[in-house]
């Protein structure tokens, strides 16, 4: 292990170490980071050993600019806006990776976090090296945040120390928070193109209030209620954020005699309401990435058990829902913003 001060030959020394698959500890505008050649599988393996964490936890990487980032990830509009306004700076922006880095750097889903540090030395190293380097914090997992070199060395074993090839010491760093991680992949269009939704009948009304929307849910429920216990009944809800999908489900629950407060299932993914003798399963597909993930939530069993299910953001999983077109009554409900603040256009129909 070699320790040098941040000086003119720091860049050259660091690049030499990186070329040999070594580990370099370097300062940034947030914490000390530890860099390995992100395209070299052996270097990444060495880093994972140093960090003492199991394989499968991804690493973000440092690049020089947006152009270099675009070689390794696909930048969507959200990502481009963030790059333009906030980088270089203490942000890690996650995009869909192009699988050009070593295994274990991208997440299991193939996403990759990019950093453009606001720190000249790092940029100079990456530019001269010509490849991205890992930008994880230099502490071992679950150890103290490293603002000075002793924070690192006092908290690791001799074996870990022996894995470090070079330390560029810039003294005590300003105690800034670690970089903030932003995931832009949720703004990607859904990867798997979902089949078109064909409805046998199509109804459309204008709702003028939340109460209106709730009553509409009741009307729809009363129309299909006769199937209860014979077949599963699925309300597949579509509509932008804030259109009132949860409000609609509240109306449905009320019509079913459920007295519990119906809340948004975005965080829990699935809520279950059981009061009043009837059972309602309330699912949110917003955080789901593939239709198949609905299966993991036990959707098949819900259908088999002839349950009543309300799914928000159903368009994200429509292929999975379609698999049960014959078995269940599936009512697609689409809610759109109207002209005035409280107005919504609600259309619905069943699939055939």
């Amino acid at each position: 292990m070699q320790i040098i001060k941040d000086c003119t030959d720091a860049v050259g020394t660091a690049v030499k170490v990186l070329n040999n698959g070594g580990l370099v500890i370097y300062p940034t505008e947030t914490l000390y980071g530890i860099g390995a050649d992100a395209t070299n599988p052996n270097a990444v393996k060495k880093l994972t050993q140093y960090k003492n964490r199991p394989f499968g936890k991804p690493y973000s990487v440092a690049v020089t600019d947006q152009k270099m980032a675009a070689e390794f990830v696909e930048l969507n509009t959200a990502a481009k806006n963030l790059y333009k306004e906030f980088l270089p700076g203490p942000l890690t922006i996650i995009s869909k990776g192009k699988h050009k880095v070593a295994r274990g750097v991208e997440s299991e889903e193939g996403t990759l976090g990019i950093r453009i540090p606001d720190y000249k030395l790092v940029i100079d190293i990456v530019r001269k090296f010509g490849k991205p380097i890992t930008a994880t914090s230099a502490n071992a997992s679950y150890k103290k945040r490293p603002y000075k070199i002793s924070d690192i060395l006092n908290n690791i074993s001799d074996k870990q120390k022996s894995l470090i090839d070079l330390i560029v010491d810039a003294g005590d760093l300003a105690h800034n928070e670690p970089s903030t991680v932003i995931d832009t992949t949720l703004d990607d269009p859904i990867t798997l193109r979902q089949g078109e939704i064909k409805l046998t009948d199509r109804n459309e009304v204008v709702s003028h209030s939340e109460e209106n929307t709730k009553n509409l849910a009741k009307e729809i429920w009363q129309k299909y209620e006769t199937h209860r216990g014979k077949r599963a009944i699925v309300l597949a809800l579509q509509g932008e954020m804030g259109t009132g999908k949860t409000i609609f489900t509240k109306g449905l629950a009320r019509a079913m005699g459920i007295t519990e407060i119906v809340t948004s299932p975005t965080y829990a993914l699935e809520n279950e309401y059981t009061t009043g003798g009837d059972k309602l399963f309330h699912i949110d597909a917003w955080r789901l990435e593939k239709p198949d993930e609905l299966r993991a939530l036990g959707f098949e069993d819900l259908i088999k058990n002839k349950s009543v299910v309300s799914i928000e953001w159903a368009e994200r999983v429509s292929d999975m829902v379609h698999e049960f077109d014959d078995e269940a009554i599936i009512i697609w409900v689409d809610i759109k913003f109207g002209k005035s603040e409280n107005e919504r256009l609600v259309s619905w129909g069943v699939t055939q």
Partner: protein
């Protein structure tokens, strides 16, 4: 009494070792922590992911010292509220360990864990009745604490949780998801008076509810009308939105405190959003105005989902002799705090 605690209520896989209110270890495998974010949140795989990680997390929490579980007296596990399949992973593991090592089992409500989290490493004298406020991605609830173990709900969200509302606001501003933490950063750099957003149920705090759906809709319209967004606009929109969301929370809490027959001495605040510096400031101010001592968890690591808080809550249950029967313990995805 040393307790091994496990929590797998939603996205985080967590284990901890605690003794009374003292935390001996606290390990969280977070999908949202810096450098470790898996694309999206991968609920799909919630179960598989928990199963893959749980043993590693438990081992890490036990470290070398408690490896053989000889010094561990009981195992505590979250039974709800949370995602059913995820809860199941933690409960199964807790049961197996309890049988294998012949340990007592303690079933803990996740919300009680958040409410009691300010007591961790903080054995100050507590007087009742007190208030408990949980502000997280999944919950927003204000309860009366008659004593530890006895709770009454005063107010709760009727739609989105506060953390979820903040995350969604960040998403509207193109800041990714979950973006509550970055929204806070941007709000610090913005002005709250450039844009006006409606404070939910303003003047009707007597309804004692939290609601964010109306604010979310208003924000959506405002963001659309301000497009294309510049850095300055994003800062100011973030500031207005966060400010309005907090104003609503404070107004409802204030109403409940001022209109209660009880004199509350303490307000316990837990949950991921309780790490927000601006919210802490405003809750402390409310405490000063109403003569209530406001308590937060001593470390940020105790605000988000974690198992140390489950161990703390479990220690009180153990004191009361409330142990669970191994063949009867089961997940309660929609458990309430009063259960």
């Amino acid at each position: 009494m040393k307790i091994l605690a496990i929590d797998t209520s939603c996205d985080e896989t967590a284990a901890a070792v605690t003794e009374g209110t003292k935390i001996l270890s606290n390990v969280i495998w977070s999908q949202a922590s810096a450098h470790a974010k898996f694309g999206g949140v991968m609920p799909s795989l919630a179960q598989r992911m928990h199963e893959e990680r749980i043993d590693w997390v438990i081992q890490k929490a036990l470290c070398k010292k408690y490896k053989d579980l000889k010094e561990i007296d009981a195992i505590a596990v979250t039974i709800g509220p949370g995602l059913s399949i995820a809860l199941g992973v933690g409960i199964d593991r807790a049961k197996k360990l309890a049988i294998k090592y012949d340990k007592k089992l303690i079933a803990v409500n996740h919300l009680e864990g958040h409410i009691l989290s300010p007591l961790a490493n903080n054995p100050s004298s507590i007087r009742f009745p007190a208030l408990g406020l949980v502000v997280s991605g999944g919950n927003t609830i204000l309860v009366k604490i008659n004593k530890i173990g006895s709770y009454e709900t005063f107010a709760q969200t009727t739609d989105d949780a506060l953390g979820e509302a903040l995350d969604k606001g960040a998403r509207m501003l193109g800041l990714g998801y979950p973006g509550g933490a970055i929204l806070e950063k941007f709000a610090r750099g913005g002005k709250t008076n450039v844009y006006k957003l409606p404070v939910p149920i303003v003047g009707q705090e007597v309804r004692k509810i939290f609601t964010y759906s109306g604010l979310k809709t208003a924000m959506n319209r405002l963001v659309e009308s301000e497009k294309p967004l510049t850095k300055e606009k994003v800062y100011n929109l973030a500031a207005s939105y966060q400010n309005t969301a907090f104003t609503h929370l404070i107004r409802v809490c204030s109403y409940v405190i001022r209109n209660s027959d009880n004199r509350f001495i303490n307000l316990f605040v837990g949950g991921g959003v309780s790490a927000n510096v601006e919210l802490r400031k405003r809750l402390r101010k409310l405490g000063k105005e109403t003569g209530i001592n406001v308590l937060f968890p001593y470390s940020k690591k105790l605000t988000g989902d974690n198992a140390a808080m489950i161990g703390v809550a479990a220690s009180f249950k153990a004191e009361r002799g409330e142990f669970a029967e191994i063949d009867k313990i089961d997940r309660k995805p929609n458990a309430k705090i009063g259960d």
